[in-house]
Structure formats: C-alpha cells, structure tokens
C-alpha cells in the first residue's frame, strides 16, 4: 500500500464534497425547468384555461409585485413568526421527549403504539380546544404547529441516541470522560446527523401545519391571504403568493438538506 497517495480501493471518496450540485441535481433542475417551460407554453397557447392557471412568468411577476408593494409584509412576517415559534418549541419539547424515551425504556414501551399511530391523528381537530385554552390569537396555530412537528423531532432524537454504538460509550469510559463530558463530547456529536434529520422534519412540519391552519382556520397570515385571493378570483396574487411560499420553503429545505448531507457524509452510513 502506498502511504503517499490514496491507495486504490482503500479510501471511500466523499463524492459530493467538491461540487455543490451533483449530476442528479442538474437533471432534477432540468426536469423542473422543462415543466415550467411547458406550462408557460400551454398557458400562452391557451391549451389551459387562463382563468384557472396563469403562465409562470406572470406568477413570477405577481410575486415580485407583492414583494415590492409591501402590502403582504405583515402577513408574511406573522406566518414566519408563527412557524419559528412552533419550530422552536417543538425542537425543545421533541428533543427532551426523545431523551426521556431513550432513558426510560418502560415509558417508551408504553408510548410505542401511540407514537406509531401519531400521524394518523388529524391534528387540526384540536384547534377548537386550543382556542378555548389559548384564546383567539396566534397561539392555537402555534400549538397545532408544535403538535405536528414535535413527534418527528422526538422520534429522530430517540433514533439517534439508539444508534450510538456501544463501542463509543466504552471508548469514552476508557478515556476517563465523566458522564457529562461523554454526553457533550461523544454521544451528542455521534447522533447529530439523526437529530438534524429531526430538525429538518420539524421545520417542514411546522411550515405545513401553520400555513394549512391559516388557510382554513385563521384571519391573517400567508395561508389566509392565499385562500382570500382564491375566493376572490385574484389569480396573480394567489399564484404570486404560492410561488413565494414555494420558493421560501424550497430554499429552507434545500439548505437544511445540504447541511444534513454533509453531516451524514461524515458518518459512515450516508443519508438514511
């Protein structure tokens, strides 16, 4: 074996380390661009009823006008605040729940069936209950977001803690680490990729719950404004808002996925 260069077959190269966009990524972008172009042509040639769907170029124009006018800034801000609060609370509660389930096997055995069927429960039915509890303000929506995001965070935290190999815990003891040092220097870094998957899902679920809640249950916010524009046949505003939302969520998801991939590339297993 040569020790100067990387011996053939001995090293696993991190294929994505150098380039931010992979070949598959370019293909995906190409497919999306093709679909957008096809929709543009279909709308321009009136193959699709322009009353129902407007061309993507007009959607983009509508989105830009909305941003430039500042008319919807308050609603966008309100939604982002609600998502951030739901995400933050879900993060803390979900992480604590995951650690608790890991530390208390009996509690976990009792909670297992509930956790397995959790996402079968339509969380939005609790909205009236939350209005009774929190009043007619933003908190019922935040609570819906927390309920939606929290369990994904807890399950991924639990998964992460369970995947830390016993050899790492033993190594920590061999190196004379205290339990606190072991937690912060070995256990948490070891399960970070899985916890981060929980963080990513919590962001996505918080967005879904808050926007969907605003769409049907609220009197303000991004989701409400989309529903309002829809009810008033205001297509440029509706599609403009939808495009803005898709771009924002898409960007957040892309950034988190890229970060998550980097974390998983460093661990031996790759992306789960």
């Amino acid at each position: 074996m040569s020790r100067k260069g990387r011996p053939k077959g001995e090293c696993r190269s991190a294929q994505h380390a150098g380039s931010p966009v992979t070949r598959a990524g370019w293909i995906r972008l190409g497919v999306v661009a093709l679909c957008v172009a096809a929709l543009e042509v279909a709308c321009r040639l009136r193959w699709i009823d322009p009353v129902s769907v407007i061309p993507p170029s007009r959607m983009a124009l509508g989105a830009w006008s909305l941003l430039a006018s500042g008319e919807y800034s308050q609603d966008i801000l309100l939604t982002l605040e609600n998502v951030a609060m739901a995400f933050g609370i879900a993060l803390v509660l979900g992480f604590a729940g995951g650690v608790l389930l890991h530390r208390m096997p009996r509690l976990r055995r009792a909670a297992d069936p509930l956790l397995a069927s959790y996402y079968a429960v339509p969380t939005f039915i609790f909205y009236p209950l939350f209005i009774v509890l929190f009043g007619l303000n933003r908190w019922p929506l935040v609570a819906i977001g927390v309920l939606f995001a929290m369990v994904a965070m807890a399950l991924n935290t639990l998964n992460g803690f369970e995947r830390v190999p016993a050899a790492l815990h033993k190594t920590a003891r061999v190196m004379g680490l205290s339990p606190v040092q072991e937690t912060f220097l070995v256990t948490l870094p070891a399960c970070a990729p899985y916890i981060f998957t929980g963080v990513k899902l919590a962001v996505v679920y918080a967005f879904i719950a808050v926007i969907a809640g605003e769409f049907v249950l609220s009197g303000a916010g991004f989701g409400f404004k989309i529903a309002f524009a829809y009810n008033n046949f205001d297509n440029p505003t509706m599609y403009g808002l939808m495009l803005l939302l898709l771009l924002a969520v898409g960007f957040v998801n892309w950034a988190l996925t890229a970060w998550e991939r980097r974390l998983h590339e460093r661990s031996a297993g790759g992306c789960p």
Partner: protein
C-alpha cells in the same frame, strides 16, 4: 491444569518477572432481566500477565472472552475475585495506562483523523505542542499521515481500525487490550495489521492482551495463547508459542506454526461443540 502464571522465561518478554496484570478467582454473572435467568458468563478464572508479554485469548463464541477484557479493563466489575493492574486493584474505573481497541468501529466520525488521535490527549490537558508531536508520531506509525485531514467515513475499515489503534497509542498505554480488532477485516489485511501490531508491541514495550476467534492470528502474534472453555469461560490450556520477539507474519510458514495452531484447535473443537449444543 493449564499453566496460568506468567512465564518464568525472561527471554520471551521484555519485562518478564514483573506482573502487569493479575486476575484471581474472577467470575462475572450478569443479572437476569424479566423472565431471563442470570447468565454466568465467566470464571472462576486466574491469569497473570508479565510486563511486555503478548497474550492471546481464544475460545468458542459466547464463552466470555469480551467479558474477560471488560473486567480486566475496569469496564465491568467482577462478581467475585480480584483484578489488579500494576499491583493496584481495578474497580469500576479504567485505570490510567490501560488502552482498549474494540472490534466495532469506534472512531469519532465527526472528527478528522488528526483530531481523533488527539482526542484523549486534549482531555488530559496535554500541551498543544506535545499533542502535535505525539499525534504525528502515532499516525505516521500507523500509516495514516497522508490522511490526517480526512474523516473516518473516507477511510477503509482497516484504516479506521488503525486510527483507533493510533488514538490509543498516543496515550502510551502500558497495557493494551485488543478485542477482536481485526474481526471485520479480510485475511490479507488482517495479516498486515498483525505485522503492525507486532511492531507496535515491540516498539512500545506494552503488555498486550488480544481477544480473537482466529487461531492462526493468536498463534502468529502471541507469546502465550489461553484457550477458554465454553461458558462460563475459564482457561483449559495455555500454550506457549516460543516465538522470538523479533517476528512478523512470515512466521506462518514455519512447521511449528501448524503444530501450535493444531494444538489450539484440538482443545477448541470440543469446547466449540459444547458451546453449540448449549445454544441449540
């Protein structure tokens, strides 16, 4: 009755005569959980390791080899008996001077090769200059110098095991415990890793206890090989190989190599059949 005391022949080992570790009447019983009855995993068992000796342990699956290592390292307390390292009792903490390399990959995937190797030294508060020197020496010694900035996921299984050995090596252990460190590697890599472990053993003068299921590996590497019985494991024979201290993997070509390995297998065959009938 197997010869369990450290060998009196001073030529075979670097610091023969002085005891590195001693186990006396050690047994380990794991408490039952729920409907599972308690498991008597080990012993009672006696063992003496001379300073600078290379001792290998072979035995059937589930005979308590890894439990023996855990007890000796202070990772698991014995149910009865006493464990000593350099004359001091080993209780529920890993004594200073003891290093362990496990079969499973125990490299820290979030740290580079260099930071992995430096991890233990940083915890000990060693100066950065000394850390750099010792880490450089260890990763060069283990052939990882070119990969100092790489992450473990970018290394092969053999290289990751070498990294774990390097991380242990920088702490300058006087007793090195190896728990089937080459178990997941192919035969050629295992032979080459064996050469590196022999080089490490000679250069550092450490006492080495190797747990392995590979008889040829035990024969090639060790001064003495302890053969364990089926569970609860105790030594049924201790075979002295008689190899010179300066040796490498080419020793497998010697006629005596086959004789020692055959002797180990004769003992182990009966015990393995017993172990299989226990699990059937």
């Amino acid at each position: 009755m197997p010869h369990l005391a450290a060998p009196p022949d001073a030529e075979a080992t670097a610091g023969a005569g002085r005891l590195a570790a001693r186990l006396a009447g050690v047994s380990r019983v794991y408490a039952g959980t729920g409907r599972q009855p308690p498991v008597h995993a080990l012993g009672p068992l006696d063992l003496e390791l001379s300073q600078g000796e290379f001792f290998a342990v072979v035995g059937p699956s589930g005979c308590g080899k890894s439990t023996l290592l855990d007890v000796l390292a202070g990772l698991s307390p014995p149910t009865s008996g006493t464990v000593e390292f350099e004359g001091r009792p080993v209780t529920d903490r890993v004594p200073e001077g003891v290093g362990v390399v496990f079969q499973d990959d125990a490299s820290f995937h979030w740290l580079t090769v260099r930071d992995n190797a430096a991890f233990g030294l940083r915890r000990q508060g060693v100066s950065e200059r000394e850390i750099a020197e010792r880490v450089d020496h260890a990763i060069t010694f283990m052939g990882l110098k070119a990969f100092a900035a790489a992450y473990p996921a970018q290394l092969s299984g053999g290289m990751r095991q070498r990294l774990c050995i390097a991380r242990t090596l920088v702490l300058r252990p006087r007793l090195l415990l190896l728990d089937e460190p080459f178990g997941a590697l192919d035969q050629q890599t295992r032979l080459l890793m064996g050469d590196e472990v022999l080089r490490l053993w000679r250069d550092t003068g450490a006492t080495v206890l190797l747990i392995t299921h590979a008889l040829d590996e035990a024969t090639m590497l060790a001064d003495r090989v302890g053969v364990m019985s089926a569970r609860p494991g105790h030594f049924i024979d201790v075979v002295t190989t008689g190899w010179p201290r300066e040796r490498d993997s080419t020793i497998v070509a010697r006629p005596e190599f086959g004789e020692v390995t055959a002797r180990l297998w004769l003992h182990l065959r009966a015990e393995s059949m017993k172990a299989m009938s226990m699990t059937a």
